[in-house]
Symmetry: none
Subunit: 208 residues, 2 copies
DNA sequence: TACAAAGTGTATAATAGTGTATAATAAAAG
DNA sequence: CTTTTATTATACACTATTATACACTTTGTA
């Protein structure tokens, strides 16, 4: 199924995706306006309406946008798969639920191997900079609920997605930070919590 | 039944929980304000109003807040509370005094249950290695002044935090070492000494 | 007891940002 | 030319946040 796109609409999609990758959220109407060279918010709003009508964008309940499908994926790059970018993790909701997914980013199949389930996460804070993960990086995570000692895992703690080193001891599990910054503490847990996945690789933030 | 929470609201809940755990009361509007990074009490008040509306907080007759239901600790999302790490115990100073606390470490609420007061202690020496406590281990201690026979208790003797097995006899209390090292002797005390707490669990050799 | 200081919850108005809608204008097409 | 389309300037309603003020309680001190 081919979708007809105007030049401006294609630009808008690319812009939304880049904004999503670099800032972790979709742009506002006025931000899209200036990015596309318009001088009125109405112009950008019309582009958005069209893309929603074509099923590429969606409007969430809170008003934010959501990038449903990536238009490059089915046309140009055959050797990529669309991996969901998980934003704010909503309380009590599976990490792959619709409301957690900000959009889809094409990732090379040499990283995201067929047969496994992956998601992308945006790193915040510097608690993992010793492990090569800096603020704003995108983290490619393979979904699995088991981990072995030394794995860098993603876990949901206190309504936040935490990325730390997994250490299983006799009675408990400790999630260790890999920062040299003393302010980052380990987290001590019982065994009855769920690991969301293990980090495969990180994609450095292109911006800055 | 799921409750939609914004990030700020989730932060607020965690903050209230920790405040409750460590200070025995809920924070004031302005304390929550600074904790959440706001600059106006109105902003924190709105968060509180929302959480009251969602049935998570409640306002008592005297105006204090009350944490009605913490989001149920299911297997996916682990909840934590910040437990003070007590370093060197200073002479004559209560164990929870500011000068004794090195920092706070998040511990799962399934280990540190709300309603009790806990602290973490670093084990030194090998007097408890038979009981699975080695040098450098972190010990999670529930604060209480009574103990029953067989409990591993923390007691302050001669300005030192001692971890030993509690045994109450007719006229005296004996603190038994559990080491196979002969140099560690039992300590015989009269009843007028203070038990600081009982050991809940130990975390092997955590470098913080 | 009286007073002052600090901390409390609450309320108001102002600001900045948001999405959206209207009517006027400019460009393109018939 | 007229008609249609795209774009503009502008306004409106809404939300989040801010600075600030007010009335009240507690607390220590003179």
């Amino acid at each position: 199924m081919k979708i007809e796109l105007s030049q401006k609409q294609a630009d808008a999609i690319r812009y939304v995706r880049n904004w999503l990758m670099n800032k972790g959220k979709t742009p506002s109407v006025r931000e899209l306006m200036t990015a596309l060279g318009y001088k009125s918010p109405r112009s950008a709003a019309i582009i958005i309406e069209e893309l929603i009508r074509k099923g590429i964008l969606k409007k969430r309940s809170n008003g934010d946008l959501q990038l449903i499908k990536d238009i490059d994926a089915d046309s140009v790059h055959a050797r990529t798969v669309d991996i969901p970018l998980v934003g704010m993790v909503t309380c009590g909701v599976p990490i792959f639920a619709q409301e957690n997914i900000e959009g889809f980013i094409p990732v090379s199949v040499s990283l995201a191997k067929p047969g496994f389930k992956y998601f992308l996460l945006r790193a915040k804070g510097d608690s993992m900079n010793q492990a090569g993960i800096d603020e704003g990086d995108l983290i490619l995570v393979r979904q699995q609920s088991v981990a072995k000692n030394g794995d860098i895992v993603v876990a949901l703690i206190d309504n936040d997605a935490i990325v730390k080193e997994f250490q299983h001891h006799k009675n408990c599990v400790v999630l260790m930070p890999k920062s040299n910054n003393k302010k980052h503490k380990p987290i001590i847990l019982t065994e009855n919590f769920q690991v969301q996945g293990v980090v495969v690789t990180t994609i450095p933030n292109l911006e800055v």
